[in-house]
Every structure is written in C-alpha cells, then in structure tokens.
C-alpha cells in the first residue's frame, strides 16, 4: 500500500506539476539557495529518476513542500534516493552556504518533507582541494585572474584526464605534493562539485540571445575581417546555402590580404610590438636595436655618414617597419598556412621580407621573387651569428635557436629586462599572453601595506609570501637566461643561483636543453591546455571587443554568475572546436563569427536583460576600423579633399584616423603600442566632435564624387541624378528608393519602403532642399562648397572633362545633408 501511495505521489508529481525553472549553481549536486532546496536527481527504486525542487515552508521544523518535479536522465553520483518502504528521502551530499551535508527527510502527509537528520559531510578530495588548490582557483572553483575557473576547465573532460594532469602538473611549481590518490580524489571532487555542464540555466541564458540573420552576419564579418562589403556572389551563396554558405565565404575571405592585416591588428592589441613601427616611434628605432649583432641593419647606408635623400628615407622607413613587423608576420604565417597556433612559439625560424632579410644578412640565402616587394615574407634562420662587444671584441654565438615569438628581437625588446628584473617581466608577459594567467593578480593576496619579510638571502626561494608568485614566475624567467636585455642570444652566460632555475609547470628544464632553453619552454607551453585559453581570449577580445567575463567573485550577483557560467560554457565549446582542428585560428574565428555572442542583436526574452547586459559584439569602432569602413563604403578613405586624393592616398600622415600627430588617431581612442596601449571603448567629448567633422567632410566629398560616376557604378546614389528634385511621383519614388538603399548600404539597416525611418530621412532631404533651393542666388550660391567641388580624377589627378562645380537645384547639397545625417549615426560609428 505504501509503495503504491509513493508511486502515486511520483506519478502525481510528473502529471500535475509543470516543470519549473531550475537555477543551477556552480555544480549539479543538490544545493540550497534561500528557501529553495534543489535536488537534480532522486532515484526511486522501480520507478526511475526525478529532478525535484522543494521549498521551505516551516523553518522551525525544517519542513519543505514540493514545488516542482520532472523526470531526469542526469547522471550524478552519489544521487539522492527515496525509499518507498520507509518514506525516507536520503541526500548523501547537499551543498548549503559552501558547506556539505548528508541529510535525511521523511515524507509526511501530502507532499511535505521534514528534515530528520543532517550531518556534515566531507567529500573525498575536498580537504586536499581546499589545501592545495583553493588559494588560486577559489573555494567556489570559479578561479580568478591568476587561475582558470574549474567550471568546464580545459583538463576537465574526464576524471582520468584531470587526475593525470593534477598528478603531473598541479599545483604549479610543486606537482609532487598531489599525486596518486590525492590527484584522483581532487579530480573527483572537482568533477562532482564544479561542473556546470549544460545546465538548464546555461542553455536558457544562451538561448535568450537573438542572433542577427545570416545576411547581416555576412556583412558584419566581411567589414570586420576583410574591410569590404560582401560581393553579390558571396551574398547569393549565403542566401542559397545558409550557414554552410557563410562558412564557405569565410574560408575564402580568410585568404585575402586584408584579413591578415586584421589578424595582425588583433594580436598587436595585446602583444604591442607595433611600438617599433615608424608611425609609432622615431625613424629607424627597430633598426637601432639590431646594432652590435647585425652589421647590415642599415644596409642602405649608415645614418651617420650617408647623405639623406628620398630614396634613403624610403629604405629607412620600409626596412624599419619590416623588422618591426616580424613577430606579427610570424602569426600571419602560421594562420595562413593553418598550422597549429602553438607554432607562434615553437617555430624554429623567424620571418623576413627582402628589406629585413638584408638587415639580418640572410637575403642571399633566400629566394625572394621580387627584391622590392615588402609584402613577400619568408621563414628564415640565423646561423653562425657573431656578436661585437662595445670594446670591439667579437664573440661567436653560433646558430640561433629560434623559438617563435619568444626569440623575436622585437618581442624581447618590447619587454626588456635588467640585472635586477632577471627576465621576470618577460615571464609575466608569457603567462599573460600565452597561458591566460595574470601573475600580477597574485598581488591581491599580499596584506595591504604590510611589508613582506625579505631578510633571508633569497626570499624568492624560501619565503612563502614570495614563492607564491616567484615559484611560477622565476622558472619561466630563468628559461630566458641566454637572452640579453637587448634581445640578443648569448649562450653560456652565467645565471643567478638565488632564484628558481629554468622549468615550467613543475618540470625542470633538462640540462641538455640549456642552450635552446626557450625552445624547450615553447614546447612545454604548447602542451599546456591553457595555451588554448589564451588563444580564445585573444581572438574573442579582437572580434567581440571585450575580454571574456571574469568570475564575479564572492560578491557576484546571481545574474553575474549566470552570465559568467553561460559564457564560460560557450567559450569552452569554442576552445574545443579550436583544439579539435589542430589549433587552427581560422576555425576559431569562424566559430566566434557563428556564435550567438558575436551575432547578438537583441533578446528573445527581456527577463534576461540583466544577465545579458554585456552580451554582444557591438562596439565603438576603433579609428583603424572606422578608417577601413569608410574606405569600403565610400570607395575612398578620409584623407582630405578628393581633388588631391591621388597624392594623399598613400601618405599615412594624411589619413585622418591613422595619424596621431596632426589628426585624430589618438583623440579617437587609438593606441601607439607604447605609451598608450589600451583603446578607448566609450566616446568622450572630443570623439563626438571627430565623428561630426568626419560626417560633414565625407558627405561633402562622397556625394559629388558619386555623381561623377554613371548611375550603375555608384556606391551611394544609384537611383537618382544631381538634378532630380523631389517633385512629381516618379522623382519622389526614386529618392525614397535611394534613401532606402542608403540606410542599407551605410547602416546595414534593411527597412521596408513604408518604414517611418525612411520617411523621416526623406523629410530631412526635402526640408534641406526646400530651404536651400529657394535661397540659391539669394543667400546661397549656385556653386558647391569649395572643398566639395571636383575638377580632378580621384586616382590619377588628371583634369576632369566635366568638372562638378555647381549645384543649381540644391539637390547635391540635400544629399550631402542626408549622408552626413547617416554617417554620424550610431549604426555607422558603432558596428
């Protein structure tokens, strides 16, 4: 009878209660939150498994009432059980306020359960985790800047995988302290307590994002990745083949030169080696770094003794920038050839073009197709290198053991060292950029204002306050021991014995690897799953415009945790796809472009607004991105009046959004990779003035320029003519059609012809026209504003057969007003 009653109860639960929204916490074990007691799985013998929510109705007697229930196939051990004979609900593991308990409840009449016993429970591995792992990963497993979250971590695919990783690598610097049973227990604990998996809340959070349609995704990707609009063929492919078509188009785009400019820009935003470009420093700065080892650095003439003429300046600038671009060209080489991204560290070569090859003295050993093509890059190796000391002595250095970015002259100089720093600065950068670990976050554990005792001879070796950081930092720092503060390789240099010696993740570098220490380090990092985290972070930052969310910390709100958990699961999927395809960056980029976080354009459910307050890739365009967008949409860049464009089109210092000395690159939030290294992501007062001037100037240039071309070749005004006044239905329809086209072309806003927004724009056109047309020859001239007039060809500077000087009907100026209106719009300056 009892059994029957309980089965009936179970059936009742299933049949009468609607499934409730179950909010998962950090793991899938039973937990309490406020008055709620959530049990992800209760096994009922002979029946099956239920997911149940109970709510506290009588705090004095610990009575819970059933609130929701559903069948479940979730796997979880140890699961809760319900004994049909005794009516006892036994929960062997329950998390409440960060503590664990074993709890029994008894089913009373109806659907109420009363707690009959509760005992503290200690999970296998819990003590070891709290002792050895929690200081970095957090007792909640959510990690911190210095250590990754345990939620779906890179090594958490199975308990065995995690156990092996812990046994061999963790804790960093002391892996011997947790091996065998300890490792397997901790792995079990992490798997039991911290795995979010695809909890309902995670899935609901991600599903709440409304993604933009594929055609908009194509446009956005095209502008962002290759700085142009999609072709008709590409649009058709996406329209007919959907997502497969988009992927195919992306594959094709990622062969274009513009894509590699973008990849270099994304990586430079974090690596910052463009600091040595001429535009960001002084002429020849990169070449000056080569003195002492590379006598041909200034192969085109010593600056102290050579007559400076135009050819010299040209060679100086091109060669300097070729040397400066070497690390980013390595990144491009790896991406282009779809090599595993670890190759940016493990490459036993570096990149040169004909100009930099001459500086490094390797030109004759390479087969360049065109000696004067600065875009032709080849891998090279440095052999039999000699170093000349200040005293003029020559030391043979032998062959250089290249290790990708680590041994790049630019990278090493960008992150210099000193006798006192001992490569620790370089080590910090290695952790940050290639392991996604912020060593500086460890500072937070230091008591504020309390000096650390450094009385021992080597506190970084024997003072726990120091070792917590230096135990990680110094083995990597020591791995740079053969590389000087100037970035040169000098093997067998004496190294300090009062710091941790070369190694990584608890493994000492073998003595036999000492001459090629950085190659060994690169190989070790390449095996570390955190490298994948680092690549996902760089690509996500570049494409989405912000870093992945940090764990909200113990004061985080539920919404913040939901946002973080959902994004973490999503990033984990991206990471898995990247790893599965041989760490191919193109695959990662495609995954990001297809992801709801990149394509977000709204919310399916407004109740998720708080959770998704930072979701989406909408961003204020950087000056460089805005510069390229203008070029793509208008057919020319912002470089001043178009009659002189044939002169300015190749002059970097004339590009309004690229030059920081005369124009707006810095004002508009750009970086110089040296003093200013972080982009502004929110507009300030000066920036909106830049937007306004941009819109006014470019409208003045673009509209007359467009009217010079036949209608079929125009980018902005294909449906109208410069004398087409808004009079008569035919003209009015044509003008409205062109306005519809402009909203789509400039703003990616596809509106029906009856949309009120188009009507508003039309009214702007007619208002300007009416006021202007009646004022021509009264307060307005027939002529266009001087800078808007055209008498020379855009590309060649040749005189135009039919200059465009006048605007007697005020139509051109009316279109200028509409264009300025649209080009200062949110949808133009943001993307």
């Amino acid at each position: 009878m009892a059994k029957f009653r309980c089965i009936a109860v179970a059936a009742l639960l299933i049949s009468t209660l609607a499934p409730a929204l179950v909010q998962a916490q950090s793991g899938s074990i039973p937990y309490t939150e406020g008055n709620l007691l959530h049990i992800p799985r209760i096994d009922v013998e002979g029946y099956g498994s239920l997911e149940v929510d109970l709510v506290l109705v009588d705090a004095a007697n610990l009575v819970y009432a059933l609130q929701a229930a559903n069948t479940t196939t979730a796997t979880f051990a140890p699961s809760a059980t319900f004994d049909l004979d005794t009516n006892i609900l036994s929960i062997p593991l329950l998390q409440a306020d960060g503590e664990f308990f074993s709890v029994n409840l008894i089913l009373q009449d109806g659907t109420n359960f009363q707690v009959t016993s509760s005992d503290e429970a200690t999970l296998v591995g819990q003590d070891e985790y709290n002792t050895q792992c929690a200081s970095c990963h957090g007792t909640d497993g959510q990690g911190a800047a210095v250590a990754v979250s345990m939620v779906n971590c890179a090594n958490c695919s199975s308990i065995d995988t995690l156990s092996n990783y812990i046994a061999n690598v963790m804790p960093l610097g002391a892996p011997d302290t947790c091996t065998g049973t300890c490792a397997s227990d901790v792995a079990t604990y992490i798997d039991t307590v911290f795995q979010v998996d695809n909890s309902p809340m995670v899935q609901q959070t991600i599903s709440a994002i409304q993604s933009m349609p594929l055609d908009e995704t194509l446009r956005k990707a095209s502008l962002q990745l290759v700085s142009r609009l999609p072709t008709e063929t590409e649009s058709n492919l996406v329209e007919t083949q959907g997502e497969a078509g988009l992927l195919s188009v992306l594959d094709s785009m990622m062969t274009e030169e513009a894509f590699y400019d973008r990849v270099a820009e994304i990586f430079n935003d974090l690596i910052l080696t463009d600091r040595y470009l001429t535009i960001n420093g002084t002429p020849g700065e990169a070449l000056n770094l080569m003195r002492g080892v590379f006598p041909d650095a200034f192969w085109f003439g010593d600056p102290q003794t050579t007559e400076i003429d135009a050819e010299y300046i040209s060679n100086l600038f091109i060669t300097n920038d070729s040397v400066a671009r070497e690390p980013l060209e390595l990144v491009n080489f790896v991406v282009e050839n779809e090599l595993p991204m670890t190759e940016i560290l493990t490459a036993d070569y570096f990149m040169v073009n004909p100009y930099s090859a001459k500086s490094y003295g390797v030109f004759d050993e390479l087969n360049f197709q065109n000696e004067y093509d600065a875009d032709e890059w080849l891998p090279a190796q440095l052999e039999d290198v000699e170093f000349t000391t200040r005293q003029g002595n020559t030391i043979s250095l032998g062959d250089i053991p290249h290790a990708g970015l680590f041994t790049s002259l630019m990278f090493l100089n960008r992150y210099p060292t000193s006798d006192t720093n001992r490569n620790r600065g370089r080590s910090r950068v290695v952790y940050d950029l290639f392991l996604d670990v912020d060593i500086l976050a460890l500072e937070g554990s230091r008591p504020d204002g309390e000096a650390v005792d450094i009385s021992s001879p080597a506190p970084t070796l024997d003072n726990d306050d120091c070792v917590v950081c230096h135990g990680l930092l110094d083995p990597v720092a020591s791995s740079f021991e053969n590389w000087t503060e100037n970035g040169f390789y000098i093997p067998q240099l004496p190294w300090y014995d009062d710091m941790f010696q070369a190694g990584f993740a608890g493994v000492d570098r073998p003595d036999s690897e000492e001459p090629q220490s950085l190659q060994w380090l690169a190989g070790e990092i390449a095996k570390d799953p955190r490298f994948n985290d680092a690549m996902v972070r760089i690509a996500y930052f570049g494409l989405v415009g912000r870093e992945p969310l940090d764990p909200p910390g113990e004061d985080g709100t539920t919404a913040e945790w939901d946002a973080y958990n959902a994004e973490s699961v999503h990033l984990d999927e991206l990471k898995a796809a990247f790893a599965a395809d041989n760490q191919n960056l193109k695959t990662l980029i495609k995954e990001i472009v297809l992801s709801p976080y990149w394509r977000a354009e709204g919310l399916e459910d407004e109740s998720f607004a708080i959770i998704h307050e930072d979701t989406g890739a909408a961003r204020l365009l950087s000056p460089e991105m805005l510069h390229r967008k203008i070029g793509a949409l208008l057919g020319f860049e912002w470089r001043g009046m178009l009659d002189f464009y044939y002169l300015t089109k190749n002059m970097d210092n004339q590009a309004r959004l690229l030059d920081d000395r005369q124009f707006y690159q810095q004002i508009y939030g750009g970086i110089d990779s040296f003093v200013v290294t972080q982009r502004l992501t929110e507009p300030n007062g000066l920036m909106v003035y830049v937007q306004e001037r941009m819109a006014n100037e470019l409208a003045c240039y673009a509209v007359p320029n467009d009217f010079l071309a036949p209608a079929g070749e125009r980018l902005l005004l294909p449906f109208v003519e410069p004398n087409m006044q808004p009079v008569g239905l035919s003209n009015q329809n044509a003008i409205m059609n062109n306005i519809q086209y402009l909203h789509s072309h400039l703003l990616a806003e596809d509106l029906d012809i009856g949309d009120p927004e188009l009507q508003t724009t039309y009214e702007l056109f007619t208002s300007v026209w009416q006021a202007g047309e009646s004022a021509v020859n009264v307060t307005e001239t027939v002529e266009l504003p001087p800078l808007c007039q055209r008498s020379r060809d855009l590309e060649t500077g040749a005189n135009l057969a039919e200059p465009l000087i006048n605007d007697p009907d005020y139509v051109i100026r009316s279109w200028m007003a509409v264009t300025a209106y649209l080009m200062s719009d949110y949808r133009f300056v943001y993307e």
Binding site: Q210, R390, P416, S418, D419, T420, N421, L440, E443, D448, G449, E485, A600, G602, L603, A609, H612, D614, T615, G616, A618, R661, Q662, F663, Y664, Q666, I667, G669, V675, V676, L680, E682, P683, N684, G685, L686, V688, Y689, E692, N696, E697, E757, T760, L764, V768, A771, G772, T779, E780, P785, P786, C788, R813, M816, A817, A820, Y821, S824, Y826, Y830
Partner: protein, 428 residues
Amino acid sequence: MKRRSFIKALTGFGVAGALPMTLVKPAFGATADRFLVTISATGGWDPTSLMDPKGNAPRSDGLGPVNNFAASAIKSAGNLVYAPYSDLVQPPETDSAGHFDNFFQKHYERLLVINGIDTQTNGHDSGRRFVWSGKLEEGYPTVAAMAAAPFADQPMAFISNGGYDFTTSIVAPVRTASAGTFNALAYPNSQFPADEDLIDVSFFSNASYDLVQQAREQRLTRQIIAESLPKRQQQMTQLQTVRNSDVELQDLLEFLPEEVSSGLAGQAEIAIAAFASGLAVSANLSAGGFDTHGDHDDDHTTSLTELLEGIDHLWEQIEAQGMQDKVTVVIGSDFGRTPFYNTGDGKDHWNITSVMAMGAGITGNRVIGATDENFEAIPLNESSLQPDDNGIIITPQHIHRSLRDFLGIDSDLDNLFPINAEKLDLFS
C-alpha cells in the same frame, strides 16, 4: 557668421551608469576652482641625479659610487639641495630653463620635495600604478581622475597624455593631439577651420546644418527606445549623454599660444588652456626617457633637462593665466634607480623615489623625508616628519592619503577607493 554656440557633448561618459550621482556632482558650485597637473617622468627617474644627491664616495659594499660627482659639489637653493652635473656629461646650455641651477634658483621657493618614498616595487607598471593611484595592486584610479570626477560633465575634464590614466570609469580620459586638431574639431562645419579669414566657409548652411543635427538627435532617441540588446542601448545612451551638453570648445583656442610647442611644453600649453577655458579640471603630462639601463648619466641628463624645461614652461603658462593660486602640480616617477652603476654605465630599477610639488596650496622651499648614503629610505616621525628610528617609511600610500586630503577629494570617492595609511601632513 561664426558658429559660437554648440549643442554638443564633450563630456566623458562612464560615470552615470557606474556610480551614484552623488559621487559625480561637485559638492559646491558647478565650476572648478582647483586644478591639478600631474607630471610623470616615465621610466623611473634617479632622485640622486636631481633632488636627493649623494656624491661619489665609494660604497662600503664595493658596488661603486652612487653618483659621478663629488659630494662637495652638491648645490643648494634655500632649503633645497640639488645635484651638480655628472663629471662625465656635458651640461645643458647655461641659459636653458632646464639647467639645474636655473631651475632650482627660479623655483625653489615654491618647490616642495619629498624624498625617501618606498614604492615597494621595481616594476614599471606596478610602480606607475602605485605612485599615481596610491595602490600597488590594480583597481584604483589615478589621482588626476579622482580630482576631475566631480566635474565629469565638463568637456575634457581629465586630459591624459598617456602614462597611468586608469580611471575606473569615474571620468573618461581625453587624449589630445596637436593644437591644429582643436581648430578642426571646434568648427566641425567649417571647411577651413585654421584660417581666420575663411573659417566661416562651411560645408552646410546654418539652416541645413540645424536640420541635420535636429534629425540626428531625434533619431538617436528613437533608437534608444526601440533597442532590445542591453549593451547597444547602453552605448546609445552614452552617445546621447556625450552629445547633449552645451560647450564652447572654441574658448580653448583663445587660450592657446599661436604656435603650440612640442613635447612636455606642448602638453602643458594645452592643459592650461583647457583649465583657463573651463573645459578641464586635471591633466596628466608625461615625459619619457628615464629608463636608463645604459649610459645613465648622459641619457638622464638629457631627460631631466627636458623635464625641467617642461615644468618651467608649465609654470609660465600658469602665471600667464593668473592661475598660480588654483593649479597644483605634482611631479613623480615610476620608482628610482639603483645607487650604483651596472656594467653598461647604466642604473637599473630601485624602489626608492622622490616626489616634487608646487603651486596652489603648496608651501615651497621645503624638503620632507630623507635617504641614507646608500639611497635607502630613512624612517620618519609621523608628527614631526623628522628622521626617527621608530618612525615609518613613507610609501605612495602616505603620499596619496595626504594628497587626497590636501586636494579635498570627494569623500564618497575617497571611501570608494580607501587608503588606509597614517595621515601625514605632507602637502599643506
């Protein structure tokens, strides 16, 4: 007709959404009457080469002399002492405003020097952060941002020329370029903004331009209402906030010299013009070249000359605008440099440094704090500020605790980024 009135926003955004409005409104009045300039000698200056000289006596540990000049050659101006030039370098021209003699003799009565400050780090980033925010760890805004935060709705409230300009979004940093750019931005509808005779030649007639601007504002309002993605809606609101203040950027042009200088002097000219025109409240200026790991004496002399020339020029700008009683200037660096030379005649990073201050509220001709012959910090008595074996070592925390009190930093902001250090009367 010149378009003198703008309906634009120059205000940096970032405050309203992040902090209670009580934190972003000035406690008194709407106009700033105190201004702050911070000057960062980026890279880590060597106080022993300037305001805390030691001389060339050999160190007992054999590491060599601290300086390459005799202790007997050390000079003074009032109560301040300053370094002579190294025996190994060519001093700057004797009429240079950056020559040590000229600088200290001209300014000592207004200069406060604080020596023996322990930055507790020798990392550039962390040193810069500690010296300019008072917090070694990440997360605190630079003091210049805190000074500007109550006036965040003013255009260019906080001008940044690089260095440590982290603001925690209490005010947006505004970066500047050459003076010519201000003409173009002050008159965005002018085709020839730099030419006084042609400045009225516009892209659009006033009537047309008014229509465009009106349409743009109305559309942004519609977009904000219609947007469903929170992030985009927030961005649109930010854009509207920035656009919606009534500012006369042209005023700044009236306070700028006809030819704006380059380098630190140019930064100073723009900062003071922005103060005088009511557009800015604080500015961080920066001068580089101090990270002299090699050839220290030569390179440091060059950098110090440029720094002192810039400070002198800044003061002349302040005086020209009659703002001596309103502008406080604080000069500091990432940390100090080793009290010995490395094998490349350079000096590496050292955690002891100095700070100088001058201007509004500062009593000059004073030196607080001290270091020993090996350039180690000497503890000070908390009350007398005199050397005391039982005293405390000054850190940037003490500097900022005192500086915040001195500047009258908003108490809510002060509480939001607390500094729990002894209150020393360093500045007043």
